[in-house]
């Protein structure tokens, strides 16, 4: 069973959201997602300044097997894309919740209600048979 850190929020499409102390959030894909994709060889992250709507495709992660869109969990403006992923996309496999973060953004609102808690995400994984 994959890791599901308790202090993060999640989406049904296997993204996670971490609140940072400066009011921005950090976004990535979960351990379950990286495992399903296999060895990642390419990750395309959005540029600083890009404005994203909730549910908008904001990044692409590519394994040998397939390319996969990552959907932005909450609306906001991108403050950074992870610069390490250009040369080391495998960080997503190795440390999906840490160094494998994809982007940071300043949320358009404080509303986190639509996101899943860690317990709810774990339940989703169980139901999916992982």
């Amino acid at each position: 069973m994959s890791q599901v850190p308790a202090d993060l929020h999640y989406t049904k499409s296997h993204e996670w959201v971490r609140k940072l102390s400066d009011g921005t959030v950090e976004i990535g894909i979960t351990d379950h997602a990286q495992h399903a994709l296999g060895d990642l060889v390419f990750a395309e992250v959005p540029d600083k300044g890009r404005v994203l709507a909730s549910g908008e495709a904001c990044a692409v992660v590519e394994s040998v097997k397939a390319a996969s869109d990552v959907y932005c969990p909450i609306a906001g403006e991108v403050t950074a894309g992870n610069p390490e992923l250009a040369t080391a996309p495998e960080l997503i496999n190795q440390d999906a919740f840490g160094r494998g973060w994809l982007l940071r953004l300043r949320p358009a609102s404080a509303a986190f209600g639509a996101l899943l808690s860690a317990a709810e995400y774990e339940e989703l994984l169980r139901a999916e048979g992982s």
């Binding site: 060895d39 060889v41 390419f42 692409v60 590519e62 040998v64």
Partner: protein, 362 residues
């Protein structure tokens, strides 16, 4: 549920991720496809290729039959155990399958054909063999392991009785021999040295585990695909099929039009192609930027003609994406590839991309 090889339970017990391949449930990877790839280039890996089909042909007219059945010429094979890579064509020159044929004796040859085409191939071969009185025997009693990499042959020696080792080690490239109850051939689909071993199905699991104990890494079909593409080897169903002929599939070198007197299935159709010149060709591509070339992506050549990627992947050895593509014939150094709506630049490369572990492109 797909078909299972004798090693299916063992793959599951080793944590393999199983996928469908040509109707078979096969391991695509164990821990990491990229690590498995590197293990083969640097040391040794073992693949279960028991889903492929071994067919033994016997009879006084077997050689004559094969000279008619396939596009390459078994007339070239004089040394016992020598192997030949060939296409098997239909009457319009389209590729039914690619295969390896081993010359064993004047009245005995062995074929190894692809898993996805085995039923079609057996039906085709049986039908034509009748005209030559050749007996066709599918060897469903055999499993097949491929042990590949610079250390592969050395490690395999420990599996053989001491009296058999010298003979196995002495096998030259592309030659096979019966060694005790096994058939060992110095062939492979990775571009590395190694063996393909055909052995009684009941012995396969022990052989696999013995190889693991010697440090030979279990490898799946994912690594098999990245290795073969780096080595410039075609995959049936991707790079060629019944609608394509060898000259537009990078396989012209496997067609023996000499001697001119040899009649084989598809010959007339191919002669029409060589007379007119093939309109399309298969080339190698390497993406200059980061990204992954994938099958079916559109290729645009200078002048506006278009083609298509037939096989694409990320090359762990080159750390770049590589591919085969079928494009209009003619020399071209650079193309553009439509990757999800963006046009990215790729340069053409004459395969292979990697040989004996060394990149051939910078």
């Amino acid at each position: 549920m797909g078909r299972h090889t004798p090693l299916y339970d063992l793959h599951r017990s080793q944590g393999a991720r199983i996928v469908d391949f040509g109707g078979w449930d096969m391991p695509v990877q164990y821990a990491s496809q990229i690590e498995e790839h590197h293990a083969v280039r640097r040391a040794a890996g073992v693949f279960d290729v028991s889903h492929m089909c071994v067919i033994d042909l016997t009879g006084a007219h077997t050689r004559e039959f094969l000279r008619y059945l396939i596009a390459n010429d078994v007339g070239k094979l004089t040394r016992a155990g020598k192997a030949l890579y060939s296409c098997m064509l239909n009457e319009t020159g389209g590729v039914l399958d690619d295969l390896i044929v081993y010359f064993l004796t004047d009245s005995a040859f062995r074929l190894v054909v692809n898993a996805g085409t085995r039923d079609k191939d057996l039906q085709w071969i049986r039908r034509h063999a009748q005209d030559f009185g050749v007996e066709v025997r599918e060897r469903a009693d055999l499993a097949m392991l491929a042990v590949q990499g610079p250390q592969a042959r050395q490690k395999t020696m420990s599996l053989l009785a001491p009296g058999d080792r010298e003979r196995a080690l002495a096998l030259p490239a592309f030659v096979g021999a019966h060694v005790a109850h096994w058939f060992i051939a110095r062939t492979g689909y990775t571009g590395e040295d190694g063996f393909e071993i055909m052995l009684p199905a009941g012995q396969a699991a022990d052989a696999w585990l013995a190889l693991n104990a010697l440090g030979v890494v279990s490898c799946g079909l994912g690594a098999r695909d990245t290795l073969r593409l780096e080595a410039g080897m075609n995959l049936y169903g991707n790079d060629m099929d019944e609608s394509t002929h060898p000259f537009e599939s990078g396989l012209g070198w496997t067609v023996a039009l000499e001697p001119a007197a040899r009649r084989f299935i598809g010959r007339e159709a191919l002669q029409r192609v060589t007379a007119a010149g093939s309109a399309r060709e298969l080339i190698g591509l390497m993406l200059e930027d980061r990204g992954v070339l994938r099958r079916h992506q559109k290729v645009i050549v200078p002048g506006g003609g278009t083609g298509e990627i037939t096989s694409g992947t990320f090359s762990p050895t080159l750390e770049r994406s590589i591919a085969f593509a079928r494009i209009p014939s003619g020399p071209v150094a650079r193309v553009e590839v439509d990757i999800r709506g963006k046009l990215l630049a790729a340069r053409t490369v004459k395969p292979p991309f990697v040989r004996v572990g060394k990149p051939l492109v910078s």
